[in-house]
Symmetry: none
Amino acid sequence: MAVLETTKPRAKAPARQKQLSVELPLGQILDGDCVEAMRSIPSGSIDLVFADPPYNLQLGGDLNRPDGSHVDAVTDHWDQFDSFKIYDDFTRDWLIEAKRILKPDGALWVIGSYHNIYRVGAILQDLGFWILNDIVWRKSNPMPNFRGTRFTNAHETLLWCSQGEKAKYHFNYRAMKTLNDELQMRSDWVLPICNGAERLKEGGHKVHPTQKPEALLYRVLLSTTERGDVVLDPFFGTGTTGAVAKRLGREWIGCERENVYRDAALKRIEKELPLDESALTTMQAGRSAPKVAFGALVENGFIAPGTEVFDKKRRWTATVRADGSLAIGKQTGSIHGLGKDLQGAPSCNGWTFWHYEAGGEVKPIDAARQLYLLAVED
Amino acid sequence: MAVLETTKPRAKAPARQKQLSVELPLGQILDGDCVEAMRSIPSGSIDLVFADPPYNLQLGGDLNRPDGSHVDAVTDHWDQFDSFKIYDDFTRDWLIEAKRILKPDGALWVIGSYHNIYRVGAILQDLGFWILNDIVWRKSNPMPNFRGTRFTNAHETLLWCSQGEKAKYHFNYRAMKTLNDELQMRSDWVLPICNGAERLKEGGHKVHPTQKPEALLYRVLLSTTERGDVVLDPFFGTGTTGAVAKRLGREWIGCERENVYRDAALKRIEKELPLDESALTTMQAGRSAPKVAFGALVENGFIAPGTEVFDKKRRWTATVRADGSLAIGKQTGSIHGLGKDLQGAPSCNGWTFWHYEAGGEVKPIDAARQLYLLAVED
DNA sequence: GTGATTAGTGAATCGTACA
DNA sequence: ATGTACGATTCACTAATCA
C-alpha cells in the first residue's frame, strides 16, 4: 500500500497513457446496461470509478429488478430475501467489471444510503477491494422526517477503496488540507443537497430524482485524481461526474440507460467550461518538491561547514561537517539519522529537528532549504 | 411498521412483564462467551440489545506520531480474526441469539467502524432485522491521520434495527427533539470521545482500549427504551451500557469474558446513582458554531476557481485556485497566510482583507461566506 | 491563585526507493 | 524477498507543570 502525491508516476508513461486514451470512449455516454458497456473498456485502463448505484427496490409493493424489468409476483414466489439476492447479484456484477477496468493503482468510490450501502460494502470487500475510508456526506438541509417516527435521515455514505490491501492509490493530501483551512480533511463532509440553479429541471420538475451536488464530486475528484486522469461513472444519470470532471480537467466516460438522462447530461456538460491552468493548480505536497540533500546546502554555501546546529530545546548541539554529515563528539550521522539516534526515536525529520542561528534568529534548517530552492529555481 | 411513543402497550401486561423479570439475571454480568450466555435467556424477553462487537481492525506494524511518540493501538487478542469468513460466522452467531431473545417489538443497536460495519449490516439484514436508521457518531476530537495518507477517520457508525419490516418499535420522538433544541434529532450525532474523568484508568493506564462515551449510550437508551425496560449488552466491556441504564432507570444484563473488565464494570456501576431529571440536559454536547473554510465556498460554487480577489486599495490581486488557495505569481497561500505575507504583518484576517466583484459591486469575500451560511443553515 | 506552557493521548486497516 | 536509507507527518482536549 502506498501513496503517490505527484503526477510523476503517471507522467512517466505518456505514450502508454495516450495509446490507451485513443481506445477509450472519452467524453462519451455509453448507452445501455453498465455491465455490458464496461465490457467494451480495456482492462486496467481507468483511473477512477465513481458509482451512484440505484437502490429503488420497492419491497412489499410492486417489485422491479435493478435493470427495470418487472417481477411477476404471481408466478414468482417472492420475499425480502429474494430481493436482496437480486440486488446482491446486480451489485457483484457491476463491481467485478469496475475492478477489471481499473488500473492497479486506480480507485473506486461508491455512494449509497443505509438501504444498500451495507450490502455494497460487504460485497466489494469480498471482491478484494480495500476500504480506505468511509465518508459521511452530512447534508446541511435534509428532508425532515415528517411523521416523527425515526431520526431525520440526514446523511449518505461514500466508500473509497483501492484495488487491494497492498495496492497503491492516489491521495492529494495537501489539496484537501488546503481546502479545509489548513486542517486535515475529515471523514465527514458537510455539504448542502443539490438544489437551486444547479438542480436540472424540465417543465418545473426535476429531471433526476437523486441528482448529486457538484461540490461532492468536486471533492472526490480533487482528492483522488490528477489532471488528465480518466474517470468512469457506470450510473451517469444527468452527468454530475462528467460536468465536474470537465471543469477540473479530468477525462470522463459515462454509462446510462435512460435517453432522457443522457440528453440532459450531454447538454449540461456541453455548457461546462474547463478551468484554466492557473486555477487548477493546487498546493503541492512537500514530497513532490525537488529533493534536496543537506550536503547540497553545505557545498553551495547556504550552511558553512563548522556551523553549529541544535534541537529546539538545545539538548544537543552538533557540528556541520564538509560532507553534510553532523557530528557530536565521536557520534556522527545524517541530519535524520543522528536526530533519530540521539532521541532514541524510531524516526526523525532532520529538516525540522535541527536549528541554526542566522541574523540573530533561530530557524529550522528547513528554512535554508527553502532559500536554496528559491535560488535554484531561476 | 408502527411506532409506539408511550409506555402504554407495555404497561398493559404488567403481570407478564414481572413474571419474565424474575427469570432474568437483571443487574448481572454473565461470564463467558456471549452466544453461550445468551442461550440462558428466554426467547422474546429483552427490550433492547446494544452491541459493541470487536471491529476486526487488522492493523499492520507500529505507528508513530510525527513527534516520534508511539500510538497505543488496539492489539488485544479479542479483536483478532483470521479472515472475513471467520468474522462473518462469529457475527451471524451472536446476531441469531440476539434476535431470539428480543421481544417482537424489541430493537437492536450495533456500533462499528468501516472495518466491520458493512459485514455486520449485511448479515443482520440477511437475518431479517430491519434497519430503521444508520447513525453517524461524528467525533469532535478524533485521532488525526499522522502520515497524511487518508482522510482523518473521524466517525463511527451505529445501526438501529427492528425485528423486521412489519415489526413495531419504540421511538421517543419528543425526548429527542427536546434534547436537540426543539429540532428533530438527526442521524449524525456530534459527541467527544471518552476521556477525562469518565475514562476508567488503573495505575495510569486505560482499563479498556475502546471505552465508549456515556453520552452515546445516553442517547441510545433515551431514544429507544422506556423506564423499566431490559437492556442486554453482549460485549459489556467496562459496562458503559450498564452504568447509563442504571442512571436512566433501565434494567440491564451484560455478557463479558474478561475478568478484568467484569470487575471494573461492577465497581463502576455500583457507584452509579439513578439520575434526577435536571441532569438530563447537561449530558448533551452543545451545538457547534458553524466554521467555514474558504475552500468550502470554492467547491460549492460561491467563488469560482480563477476568480480574482484583491485588497481594498488594489495593491495586490490574487487568483483563486481549485483547492481554495490564492496565488500571485509564484507566491501562494491561504487567504489568511498570503494576506499576512504580502503585508509583512504578523497576522491577517483573509475574510475581510480580500475582496471580489459580484454584480458590479466590490465585496469582501466574507460576504460570500454569509451567503454560504444562509444556504447551509438548518 | 492565575495564566501560560508543556506533555500526553485517542478503535488507525497510516511509505518509498534502491541496493 | 529483505534490508537500509531517506523522508514526511498531527487535532482536540486534558492534565500537569511552570512562571
